[in-house]
Amino acid sequence: MDSIADGPQVQVKFVTQQRQFAIPETGIQTPARLRRYGLSQIINLVLQNEGEKQRPFDFLIDGEFLRTSLAEYLEEKNMSTENVLTVEYVESMLPPTPLSSYEHDDWVSAVQAHRPGGFLTGSYDNHVRLWNKQAECTQVLTGHNGAVKAVQWLTSDGDNGTLLSGALDRSILAWEYSHADNSHSILYECKGHTGGVESISLNATGDKFASGSADATIKIWTTIIPTVSDHIEDVTETRKKRKTVKEDRILKAPISSLNAHTGPVSAVTFSSTSADTLYSGGWDHSVRVWDIENSVNITTKNCEKVVHALDYSEHSGLLASGHADPVIRLWDPRSEDSSVVKQTLSGHQNWVTSVSWSPSSAYMLASGSYDGLIKVWDIRAKGALYTLSHGKASKKVFSIDWSNDILLSGGEDNQMKIHKVQDMTDRAEA
């Protein structure tokens, strides 16, 4: 410790929002040349964590991660070493570790994890697959006529469940499966889109879901399982097809259609706090906020690029979007300004096709890109926290999903990758 004590010192007050790691809020004389590791040791020393119990901490000054020594930071910010410096510390996120990869027959275009039933993937071979944690494919749901572009869990209680899948064949299928007798069936077919279904999102209460399609419309559907087909005016349907393919399916019509987009709608996501608020993004470079109750487009935000992915975080209240450029944009959906981007995250080399907020943290975000990389971001830090390789070099990543401690990704290399991410629930703000 003698050597550590050398050099200039700074009075540092350590604070934390994680109660279990709280230490007395008194100023501690700290050598200014300490970096993250040294400060982390100090916290551990005060907490009397030893050996295995030692935990890594990250340090925030004014909402920004400390990536240099304290002295360098103070010099950069032109701050005096005489004042008491308030440093917030949070437990570090451990680097995600790859768990396993699930082989598919074709490109994996949609993934969703993880309910008790396991993982859900949609693939370009027109199949929807259910996986368990042992990397076994438990169910292959066959019924689509085109590449599956979106999957969405509806209900799941381990063995049985329902789910949705949207595909390039312009249809959304609702499935019912049962692991017990290894059976599955199509509950109904949602019909109405004239273009491929790009995205499906279930609202917070679970009674409605929305779908975005390449025909520039968003359609809202109920999750009620109908017993008879809704009447759909289908004048152009050939007699042959109706007879052969769609005979046994119960058809469902949308309860409403939102038509404000002028290009394909590539992403829809419901607000996790309000069941009636829907966010959508499309090729017309707009991010729109909808009130589905009244089918009203509340706000429209424009940027320069095609929107490929959207995700809303209930913790931070921010909307993250991936675009046809290497930048992730964060929006405040409540602001009225049409083109104000709250923050941008740069680091990818190609289009960002999927974004996913951490389910537990207001700051953590994962993104997948066509450059074949998955990046984990803390929006307080400059640059990505971790960069994970999805698979082979520069194979496109189409879809990622961040569940509690699992990060799923599916891509061009026919694989769904699972990364183990530190569970952040205990890092949640008090």
Binding site: W107, T194, K241, E304, V306
Partner: protein, 800 residues
């Protein structure tokens, strides 16, 4: 002496006023003539009696000496006239007059006899007296005195007081001895010419004058020893003899040696004759009276004045008003330079450069840091004079009074003068143009976003050159035709190949039908054109509609006879299953297919098919027309106008615009390139671009000219394809060098504003060169600023 002086004074005073001038000449000569001789006579007598008497005392004696009064009896009347004028001596004289008057009365006879004797004596002694008098004159400063004295004897000597004496010339026959003495007639020539001859010249009769015998050196020596005057002799070359010099000649030589004038009698400092002086002469050189005109006003002046007076009266000349203030004369500070600008601003005036102000190190007591170190001094001393940065070394003195004179001062001033005088401060008429300003002001590419900058997606799968690509009107799908005899359809957003059609020939051209209601893909493949309906990609409604649209023609064609140039045929069931709906068989290989904007007509180009190279087909009626009976040149590309019933045909060198309704040629564009490779028309229809195999890209403004508005030569190799974006102001070109270049090409609605063309991005080495082919086709996404290019390396790339 006193008697004469006052007269001069009097005349001097008289000379000043002009009126008295006229009177003076009348009196003065009388005085001089009468008075002066008398006084002289007296002095002569005095000199005889008392030779040592002062001249000045004579006057005193004159009054006291009774003896002399008798002698002067004759002249008393004259004296009486004179004396009153002389104010000074007036009183004395009056006294003398009284005495004389008394004498006259008493001894008249006696005086007469005496006077005669005296006058005779005077005459006898005159010569002696004169010599004495001369001495006196020399001492006196006044030369006039002598004149007066000599007057009776020689009036000429008045102007030539020093008489020069020359030897008398005796005018006898022999007096001029010049010819006789020197009978050698050779003249004044160098005598050494006769050195080699026995004679030294010719006499007047033409006979030779023989060289006189001369002694040898010994004789010469002996003669010098014997004759004491031999050193006075000189050799006369003309006569070849020694001649003894006369005394006069020796005197001349001596004087010459002494740098004196050879003539001893010549006086270089003769007195000047003052013809014109301040003195008023009694007898002026010109005695002409003042002319009358000096005293009467000038007639001419009066005329001129009257002219002015008349002009003023008539108002032609207006006198200045009373409040007139004369303009202030301009003065300026001669020593003030720069600020006041004393000189008029003139183009050719260049002020002299100022001297540099002294700095610290020129101080007599500079700060210590300016003082040079030993090394610096040494270095300075070793340096060449020209190389020294300064021509002095800073030095320190304790006090200003210890500072010595500056040794370089004169030199520096001199150099400064040279600088000012010789340095050519000439204003050069150089074109002072910033080269940057000549470059047209183009907006920064950053302001022209969006445009594609980086590779986003690669479409892999083809196994041959990808010759042609096309994006469907919705922007979701892309078709590509390749040398591997396949047509592939791709999902643009992911790069997924959605469908592959295997054909039996190389695919040269694929084009989506522009009608959104009909999904149809035209494919040029060998000798035929196929129309493909990609089933799965589109909604059943659209597919059905397209199906019926494509089928409709077969009902029509049955009526007409088959056209040999284009035969519409049904595909085989296998082909139908694949998606091919219609075949159009042509006579020659088809290079290009292009759609009319409404999606009913399409045109094909088969360059080998001479006159039927260009055909226009109608899809719904399965009819084929040949718009041109004869083609001028090999047709490269054709294109429908995006809004009007116009048709563009690009041959090798020209682009022709035809009106399809009126069936006439509208315009011929002279491209100036050698071989056109590609053509695209701006979506607004007023501009078009062509690419050529000779690396050029030409932009034509159809309203402007038939010549290119801009010709861009940026590619290294032949340009293969050019394309306009349908929405954004962008166009692109690709070439065999594998590069794709992207330009901002803004067309304004304002007809007066020319299109703005800015190169914004060069995508380098997009496609690898395979067999001298690089990038083959570029195509823009219909809605997004995305560029798709295909190349000979079997790849298709999307840039965003």
């Amino acid at each position: 002496m006193p008697s004469t002086r006052p007269t001069r004074k009097a005349t001097g005073t008289k000379a000043a006023p002009a009126p008295s001038k006229k009177v003076a000449p009348a009196q003065a000569p009388a005085k001089k003539a009468v008075v002066a001789p008398k006084s002289k006579k007296r002095t002569v007598e005095e000199a005889r009696d008392e030779s040592d008497d002062e001249f000045g005392e004579v006057a005193i004696d004159m009054a006291s000496d009774d003896d002399e009064e008798d002698m002067d009896g004759d002249d008393e009347s004259d004296d009486a006239e004179d004396f009153p004028e002389e104010g000074e001596e007036g009183q004395d004289m009056s006294a003398a007059d009284l005495e004389e008057d008394e004498d006259e009365d008493s001894e008249g006879s006696y005086m007469d006899g005496d006077s005669i004797v005296d006058s005779q004596e005077e005459l006898d002694d005159e010569d002696d007296e004169e010599s004495d008098f001369d001495d006196l004159v020399e001492d006196d400063i006044d030369p006039n005195f002598g004149h007066n004295l000599n007057e009776p004897l020689a009036p000429e000597s008045d102007y030539n007081p020093i008489v020069r004496e020359y030897p008398e010339i005796d005018p006898v026959y022999d007096s001029d001895s010049s010819t006789e003495e020197n009978d050698n007639t050779v003249g004044d020539i160098p005598m050494h010419w006769y050195d080699d001859y026995p004679h030294i010249g010719y006499d007047i009769d033409g006979k030779k004058i023989m060289r006189p015998a001369t002694g040898d050196e010994l004789d010469k020596f002996l003669s010098t020893m014997d004759d004491p005057d031999s050193w006075l002799s000189a050799h006369n070359y003309k006569e070849g003899q020694d001649v003894k010099l006369s005394a006069e000649e020796l005197e001349i030589i001596r004087r010459l040696e002494g740098n004196r004038i050879p003539d001893a009698d010549y006086n270089p400092y003769e007195d000047q004759v003052e013809f014109f002086s301040s003195k008023t002469e009694i007898m002026p050189l010109s005695a002409a009276p003042e002319p009358k005109r000096r005293f009467i006003p000038s007639k001419h002046e009066a005329k001129r004045i009257m002219k002015i007076v008349r002009a003023i009266r008539e108002g032609r000349i207006v006198p200045r008003k009373s409040g007139y203030v004369p303009p202030k004369p301009k003065y300026y500070n001669l020593w003030n330079d720069a600020e006041d600008k004393p000189r008029e601003e003139h183009v050719m005036h260049i002020t002299a450069p100022k001297m540099k102000l002294p700095t610290h190190d020129e101080s007599y007591n500079p700060p210590a840091e300016y003082l040079p170190t030993e090394e610096e001094i040494k270095e300075w001393n070793e340096m060449d004079k020209e190389d020294r940065p300064k021509n002095y070394l800073p030095q320190k003195y304790n006090a200003l009074r210890n500072v010595p004179g500056y040794g370089q001062f004169i030199q520096e001033r001199f150099e400064r003068c040279l600088d000012l005088y010789l340095a050519p401060r000439v204003r050069k008429n150089r074109l002072n143009i910033d080269p940057e300003s000549l470059i047209p002001k183009l907006p920064s590419p950053r302001d022209l976003q969006p445009f594609p900058t980086r590779l986003a997606i690669e479409f892999l799968g083809h196994e041959g050159r990808v010759r042609s690509i096309s994006v469907d009107p919705t922007g979701l799908w892309m078709a590509s035709g390749s040398d591997d005899k396949t047509v592939r359809i791709w999902e643009i957003s992911t790069g997924r190949c959605m469908a592959t059609y295997h054909l039996d020939e190389l695919v040269t051209s694929v084009v989506w039908g522009p009608n959104k209601e009909v999904a149809v893909l035209a494919v040029a493949c060998g000798y035929k054109v196929g129309l493909i309906l990609p089933e799965k990609l589109f909604s059943p409604e659209l597919t059905l509609h397209s199906e019926e649209y494509l089928k409709a023609g077969f009902a029509n064609v049955a009526t007409g006879e088959p056209n040999p140039k284009a035969q519409w045929k049904q595909p085989t069931p296998a082909e139908f299953e694949k998606g091919i709906r219609v075949w159009v068989h042509l006579q020659k290989p088809v290079k290009q297919v292009t759609w009319h904007r409404k999606g009913d007509y399409f045109s094909t180009v088969a360059p080998d098919a001479n006159n039927s190279a260009v055909l226009i087909h109608q899809l719904t009626k399965h009819q084929t027309q040949q718009p041109f009976k004869k083609n001028k040149g090999a047709v490269q590309r054709v294109m429908f106008h995006p809004t009007k019933p116009m048709f563009f045909v690009a041959t090798q060198r020209y682009v022709r615009q035809y009106n399809l309704q009126r069936q006439e040629l509208v315009k011929t564009m002279q491209t100036g390139v050698k071989w056109i490779s590609s053509l695209d028309v701006h979506p607004a229809g007023d501009n078009l671009i062509i690419g050529s195999y000779d690396k050029r890209l030409c932009w034509f403004d159809l309203d402007l000219s038939s010549k290119p508005y801009k010709t861009l030569r940026y590619h290294q190799q032949a340009i293969r394809s050019v394309a306009y974006h349908k929405r954004y102001p962008l166009f692109a070109s690709c070439a065999d060098d594998g590069n794709v270049q992207i330009f901002h090409g803004m067309v304004y609605n304002d007809l007066l504003q020319n299109p703005l063309i800015v190169p914004v991005k060069i995508l380098k080495n997009v496609h690898q060169r395979v067999d001298a082919l690089g990038a083959l086709c570029v195509e823009w996404h219909p809605t997004q600023p995305w560029l798709i290019s295909s190349g000979a390396d079997h790849t298709i790339k999307l840039f965003s």
